[in-house]
Assembly symmetry: C2
Homo-oligomer: 189 residues x 2
Amino acid sequence: MKKDRAATEAKIYESFLSLLEEKGPQAVGINAIAKKAGVSKELIYRYFGGLQGLLLQLAKKGDFFKTLLTLQNNDLETVESVKDFAKAGTKELRENKLTQEILRWQLLENNDATRDLFKFSNQQIDKVFSISDKDSSLNHALQLMIGGYVYLTLLSKFNKTFITTDLTSQDSWDNFDKALEKTIDLFNK
Amino acid sequence: MKKDRAATEAKIYESFLSLLEEKGPQAVGINAIAKKAGVSKELIYRYFGGLQGLLLQLAKKGDFFKTLLTLQNNDLETVESVKDFAKAGTKELRENKLTQEILRWQLLENNDATRDLFKFSNQQIDKVFSISDKDSSLNHALQLMIGGYVYLTLLSKFNKTFITTDLTSQDSWDNFDKALEKTIDLFNK
DNA sequence: CCAACATGTAACCATGTGGTCACATATATT
DNA sequence: AATATATGTGACCACATGGTTACATGTTGG
């Protein structure tokens, strides 16, 4: 039998990630991870310090909004740049399943095991989305709409519709993007 | 020992509700309900048909947005009535813990047991929120903001802040209400 | 009154969970 | 080569889960 710690650590971590991405926070457990990795669960405790350590690893390695951090350097002073930023944000959110599941997780619990992960991912979010302090009402409107985007994205995993809107259609998401743009425009007039 | 089926059924149902309200969907299980009701779990199967039956009961009895259904009869043609409606909606959502936990539940799973409950509660939501088809972009903007309100309400159970906003402060929620109102105004100009 | 039935309980089952253990085997050090 | 250490495994533990069973006891109708 071959022995390669680095390889098994990678197997464990990858299994953990894919389990979280595919089946969500509820499915993430020591037994499930070990089984998926094809490895004894004892190793998860030894190499990572249990689930808590695995979450900490994710917090450190996690690239939750990396595509946005590149845009972050832009001015965000002009209306157009804010709109571009919003569009990039919704795109990133819709495509990054890992981020989605972490956001879902935050709606379920907040304990010792998850605290570090949430703290870190929230720092990322804060860094990215702390914008336009001038107009407070636009700020709150944008936060509501960002939150709405998160909500609808998470909801779309299990629901085909929200009120009258078909969540499976790309058109719907384009319309949400347009509504977001239009709101930004209206607040800047 | 006294025997009173109606009373024990009530005990079971009430325990189920309070468990859901206080600890959320994850905590709702046959064992926990029976323990809280101080009753043998066999009776839950006999009288309700298990957890599934309990959820069905909730779907039938549930008053998810009853305070809004009274407003529903209003015109919703004037800008002011839409704003009143929105304000009543956010208030209802923030106060009704049961509704909150059902909405949270919809972000976690959708199976045979929950299907009926979700179907019914969504019908309620649709009935209440299917408004203003004329302006599609306002419609989508409102849906985003409603979704955002739901998201932030659910999040506030475990998180004290969202980006720069303090979710424990009444002021913040007032500001969200104002942002919502202002958005409605701007779209109607 | 006593038989039939409704109501209620506790034990039990298989399964799954997180967590620990003693042990085996491969790799590295002396 | 012999020994020490790193890596890996499977059994085991206590506990919790949903679900079923056999049985006991209260209530009711003939």
